[in-house]
């Protein structure tokens, strides 16, 4: 036991010695100091932290290749200007002049290295003149002009299928494609026509008629938005903002007359509010550019009920 106590005594003093010898080095390193064994002095240093995406880039500091790859922390650097260059095979190199300050960390942690061979993949299987990206269903809808067909696929180009066919009465070059919030219908429009298509059997059953085209000659349709009720459409033309029902013989109501085609448009689909810009001549004869807010949610409840009752009738 006595012997064990002697060993313990040695261990204890060894531990105390390791603590008091090691502690200054740990603290000085943590605080950004470097011990110079020649001069027996601590020098102030700084450090650089580098993170890249993707990881594993070679790091050149003042043209000298370091052993470590990213992510890396280069510590015990004397204050001053350093050139940092990051290289990774098949990626564009990245370089920067970095100022290292004493006892500070310079963070280069948001570096994205871009591939020299970008990963581009063709998604469409037919010619696509334009496409609509559905964030919720993670689908892509694209329009083939030659066949007047809308195709649908997932985001990898898989699950490819025909979604709908435009009627012959729809003429000219389509300008845009929008899906209704319930994803049952789509609207394709050109300068003076709006075509309503059904993307599923349920959609056509609901309304009881095939795809149809609404024509508005003499107007230049700029944009079309679906109301959240999936039934009303808002047409923004160079002359006005109108609301129409998505049926072959719709009522059309002019909501706002415009002085020119709006330069900016945003439709808040959650609240059914349309933000648009227009010119307005003031009483002083000066033309002002204004932003307007048009709330369109008023009739939605009633319309929704109508749609539901029709659906129940079909079922």
């Amino acid at each position: 036991m006595l012997n064990a106590q002697r060993i313990r005594g040695v261990l204890f003093f060894l531990s105390v010695a390791v603590f008091f010898i090691g502690l200054p080095f740990i603290l000085s390193f943590a605080l950004g100091y470097k011990f110079n064994p020649r001069t027996f002095k601590f020098t102030q240093t700084g450090l650089i932290s580098i993170k890249t995406h993707p990881q594993g880039a070679h790091v050149y500091l003042d043209s000298k290749l370091l052993n470590e790859k990213t992510p890396v922390t280069i510590s015990e650097l004397l204050p001053g200007l350093y050139s940092v260059r990051l290289e990774l095979e098949d990626y564009y190199p990245w370089s920067m002049q970095v100022n290292v300050e004493p006892r500070r960390v310079t963070r280069i942690e948001k570096v994205i290295l871009f591939s020299t061979r970008p990963n581009v993949k063709q998604l469409n299987q037919r010619n696509a003149s334009f496409f609509y990206f559905d964030e919720e269903k993670k689908n892509i809808y694209y329009f083939n002009r030659e066949e007047s067909i809308i195709y649908e696929s997932d985001l990898e180009g898989e699950k490819f299928k025909e979604a709908s066919v435009l009627p012959d009465t729809f003429k000219g070059v389509p300008k845009g494609l929008k899906l209704s919030p319930d994803k049952e219908k789509a609207v394709v429009f050109n300068s003076d026509q709006v075509c309503i298509l059904y993307l599923s059997l349920k959609g056509s059953l609901l309304y009881g008629h095939p795809p149809f085209v609404l024509s508005y000659p003499g107007q230049k349709i700029i944009q079309v938005f679906w109301h959240s009720d999936n039934y009303h459409l808002f047409l923004v033309t160079d002359k006005n903002i109108a609301v129409v029902e998505a049926n072959p013989k719709p009522n059309k109501v002019n909501l706002v007359n415009l002085n020119s085609g709006p330069a900016g448009l945003f439709y808040d689909k959650d609240k059914d509010i349309l933000y648009f810009s227009d010119y307005q001549m003031g009483t002083d004869g000066v033309i002002y550019e204004n932003i307007y807010k048009l709330e369109l949610s008023g009739k939605s409840y009633i319309i929704n009920n109508e749609v539901k009752s029709r659906l129940n009738g079909k079922e």
Binding site: Q5, R8, S15, V18, G22, I26, L27, F29, G32, R107
Partner: protein, 490 residues
């Protein structure tokens, strides 16, 4: 314990005040001086790593000693002697399923039974006490030299409902009986065991050997190594890990003789017990305070001699995880209530003129440091460690130390993984053989369960000690709350 004395109250407040003072100062520093806070955290982390490595080395040495002395025939080494062993089992709610294996273990000991006297010390307030006493007497009366049952009356003046009060009553009854039989106090070696304590076959041989060979046998306590092997294969991982760690802590303490204090089941001279007027009848931590009483009585010339034989106890657990945590928490808080020894000891020192001042300072500081460190270490490592980075703001995070703090802390704490591997290995070595009916798969579980350690530290690391110190500082004294033990889970 006197409650109204202002000096006493001041001493009771000191441990909690220091622990909370350190914690709150560090939290405050994390906001207003994050660099200073980070420096203190790094110093503490490094200290903790060195300490862990040092203590693990001691554990290895203790384990080696235990392994080496495991197969010794201690009785053969003992010279002729006239000593009797008086074994007191203070019992409260423990049933026959707990007491019977403990008495069986003594009965099966490799030691002459005509030298063994058993006292089963029941609490009068336990309605089953008389019946249990009758059953045990009928089973064990003939197995030992004498077998006594005592019944501690409830509500004696000046007493609290503590284990010490029961043990004191039993020891006084035993003294009367022994003296009537012509057995002198100095010829009796006393062992006070928790009801679930199952001794190793060599325990009394080893104890007698050390008692006989000790230069001052009456000025020594004798501490076996507590292990919790009785139900270790059945207990859930959480409880098993906690108790294995407790065993290891005791083995480590056994290597630090100058700090070693009695804990749980242990032995001492009966004469000394009588001389120091038995256990305090109003303190919860009877197992450690009896050492300090003897230490003060003998003017600092009192020690604890480690016995490298095991006594095995039950792991307290329940079939519900939450209940197990609660049971373990309460048990650890009761252990941490040993902080009540600090005012007791300092009061003793203040009234003493013979113990050297250096010894007083050293022992008082050790006691205080142990309890304060217990109350703060996990809080600093787990909760305060990340605070400077979280609340230090942009400026701190642009500093080298802001960047290095978490990296160095992480690196340092990884070193503890190596010590954890040693603990895992040793935990396998102290295991009793796997009982029939327990799957081999349990072996894998028992290694993998060490991943629970961070979770255990989170719950049982510092909180019970901080809780106990806060209660003591606020004068909200703890009642003795025995850990419920049963061979069937609670």
């Amino acid at each position: 314990m006197e409650k109204n004395n202002s000096g006493q109250r001041t001493l009771e407040i000191i441990p909690g005040l220091i622990s909370w003072g350190i914690i709150l100062t560090l939290v405050l520093l994390a906001f207003i001086k994050p660099v200073s806070c980070a420096v203190i955290i790094l110093v503490f982390d490094f200290y903790w790593i060195i300490r862990t490595i040092y203590l693990t080395t001691l554990l290895l040495m203790a384990h080696h000693r235990l392994y080496r002395e495991k197969s010794k025939n201690w009785l053969k080494l003992c010279p002729e002697n006239n000593f009797y062993h008086l074994i007191i089992f203070p019992v409260y709610k423990e049933g026959l399923d707990i007491l019977r294996p403990s008495l069986e273990a003594i009965k099966n000991c490799h030691y002459p039974k005509n030298k063994i006297i058993i006292v089963a010390a029941f609490e009068e307030r336990n309605p089953n006490a008389r019946e249990n006493a009758r059953v045990l007497e009928s089973e064990f009366r003939s197995a030992f030299h004498f077998y006594l049952s005592t019944f501690h009356p409830d509500g004696l003046s000046g007493e609290k409902r503590t284990k010490g009060a029961n043990a004191t009553w039993a020891a006084k009854q035993a003294k009367i009986f022994l003296n009537e039989q012509g057995i002198k106090d100095e010829d009796v070696i006393l062992s006070c065991f928790d009801a679930d304590t199952c001794v190793n076959k060599e325990y009394f041989g080893c104890l007698t050997y050390h008692f006989v060979n000790s230069p001052k046998p009456h000025q020594s306590s004798y501490q076996p190594m507590p292990v919790y092997n009785n139900n270790i294969w059945q207990a859930p991982s959480f409880a098993r890990l906690v108790e294995i760690s407790s065993s290891f802590c005791q083995m480590i303490e056994g290597m630090r003789l100058e700090k070693f204090v009695t804990f749980s089941s242990h032995s001492m001279s009966f004469k000394t017990l009588v001389d120091i007027d038995y256990w305090p009848v109003n303190m919860v931590s009877d197992d450690s305070v009896i050492y300090w009483k003897a230490f003060l009585f003998y003017k600092g010339d009192y020690r604890v001699i480690p016995l490298y034989v095991t006594v095995s106890m039950d792991i307290a657990y329940s079939n519900s995880f939450i209940k197990t945590i609660k049971i373990q928490y309460k048990q650890k808080r009761r252990w941490a209530w040993g902080v009540e020894n600090f005012p007791f000891l300092v009061n003793g020192f203040l009234n003493d003129r013979d113990i050297p001042l250096v010894k007083k300072i050293r022992r008082g500081f050790h006691l205080l440091e142990t309890h304060v460190t217990w109350a703060i270490w996990a809080v600093i490592l787990l909760f305060i460690g990340p605070l400077p980075v979280i609340f230090g703001g942009v400026f701190f995070n642009q500093m080298a130390i802001g960047y290095n703090l978490s990296k160095i802390t992480g690196l340092l704490l990884h070193f503890t993984l190596f010590t954890s591997l040693v603990w895992i290995m040793l935990s396998r070595l102290i295991l009793p053989p796997r009982p029939k009916g327990v799957s081999r798969f349990k072996n894998i579980v028992m290694v993998m369960e060490w991943f629970l350690v961070p979770f255990i530290i989170l719950i049982l690391g510092s909180t019970p000690a901080l809780d106990a110190q806060t209660h003591l500082a606020l004068g909200r004294y703890m009642e003795f709350n025995p850990t419920p033990k049963s061979k069937k889970v609670v």
